[in-house]
Amino acid sequence: MMQDHLFDTKVQLLKYKVLRSVAKHAFEGTLDSCYYDIPLEIVPGKEATMRCCIYKERAIVGERIKLAMGGHPENPNIIEVLDIACDECPVSSYMVSDACRGCIAHRCESVCPRGAITFDNHKAHIDDSKCIECGRCASVCPYSAISAHKRPCQIACKIKAIDMDENRKAVINNDKCISCGACAYQCPFGAITDKSFILDAIKLIQGSDGNKKYHVYAAVAPSISSQFSYATLGQVITGLKELGFHDVVEVALGADMVAYKEAEELKEKGFLTSSCCPAFVDYIDKYFPQLRQHVSHNLSPMGEIAKLIKNTDPDSKVVFIGPCTAKKMEIQKDALKPLVDCVLTFEELQALFGAKDLDLTTLEESELDNASYYGRIFARSGGLADAVAQALKEHNVSPEEFALKAISCDGIEACKVALLKASKNALPENFIEGMACIGGCIGGAGCLTHAAKDKTLVDKYGKEAKEKTITDAISVYHI
């Protein structure tokens, strides 16, 4: 298989190799005996290709294996820093480059509110201890000689949950972190990663004894339509069944249900935020507790679909497969615990396919069709709001009765702006669709690829749904 083209980055490829190896040994029952061989399998040597020497590379792979096997239980966060993998990127944020000509104007010095800029040998120098990172010097320099150099993890973390310890290693502040995984996707050294529960998934599959003892369901998020683009969606579904899942069900059907209920709740309450994105809900919890009462009381689409599956098949097990690292936190909530048994990302699913040497491109196609267009477009920013608008129509709510004014917040920064306004009663809209990742779920940290065309793929998948309305799709909930 063309492993090099499966992912956006080589960090993802490295993570994949570790996950695949752990999964392969787990499937074969050799994980205990081969545990110490995996670093050598992945870093055979003799030349180091990533770090100073092969021994450090192997040590880091060792840490990755721990994360692939569930991570450190004493750390409640599902996003972890691999200390020895953190390359201690330079901390000072504004730096003066060689482009500084030591001009006479010294605009940078004049504009600096803290007197952090001095001149040595006709060249500007920034005193880090005084700099407050306002960026004014950079904006006034006529030679563009001053620029920001922040750590990629800190740039990725829009809610400023990453600090540096005394050894300049990245540290995640768990009280602030919402587990969106942005830092994990952006760290160029792969030093931040999400804990993996592939072993739990494998145990569930193997324990079912070929789905004879109980059925194991794969509930796949609609963003799958933008993933595994080297094969067809139908082949991915067959691949899931080859892995040992009894059936594959669209989480988008749960999304249809959410849209239907959310429309009712919104009309009744008059103002609401969505509750689909666990990172967004966590953000409100931690940063805007005064707005908690306005978060929709609905389960997420994952919760809704798992509830339906367990209603129809009480002894079954449900594995959610999606783009999201924060879902791994969400299933620890009391309301979700009895419903969802395990969460995997698309990255991890690819590793399971790799572990079983499944070449999806050679497989027959299976069908996947449970939801409507509206449930399926939840995967992209704006989709949820469109679905709620449709659900209001299907509830026969006239615009005179209740007029929807939705704001679709694309990324956590946009969410912050809307929530700030809402907290001051200054938000003109009455419904906030909050998505922590840029682009919506298709921008999730657990995706294989994050491409611009993904939105079009989601809409195309939406249009292929058999059911054209939300009411038709969710009729199965009301038998």
């Binding site: 369901y217 059936d247 129809t312 069709d369 449970n370 059911e467 199965v476 038998i479």
Partner: protein, 82 residues
Amino acid sequence: MEIYVCIGSSCHLKGSYDIIQLMKEKIAECNLEDKVTLKATFCLGCCTDGVSIKVDDQIITGVSTENFDEIFKRYVLQEVEA
């Protein structure tokens, strides 16, 4: 008696929602609400040309709107009356 109609993807595409509707109507028409429970189920593992249903422990495949009346009579009515 418990009747399960498969709502897995394959059966859904072949019209299981129509079969559910017909089941509901027919159960009401024959006044069997007290005797028959209608439920949905995901894949019954028999993806064929038509919709799969399960009546108690017996799986019946290839159900369509065309043969529905016949199937209902044979597997539901006759069994309930027996």
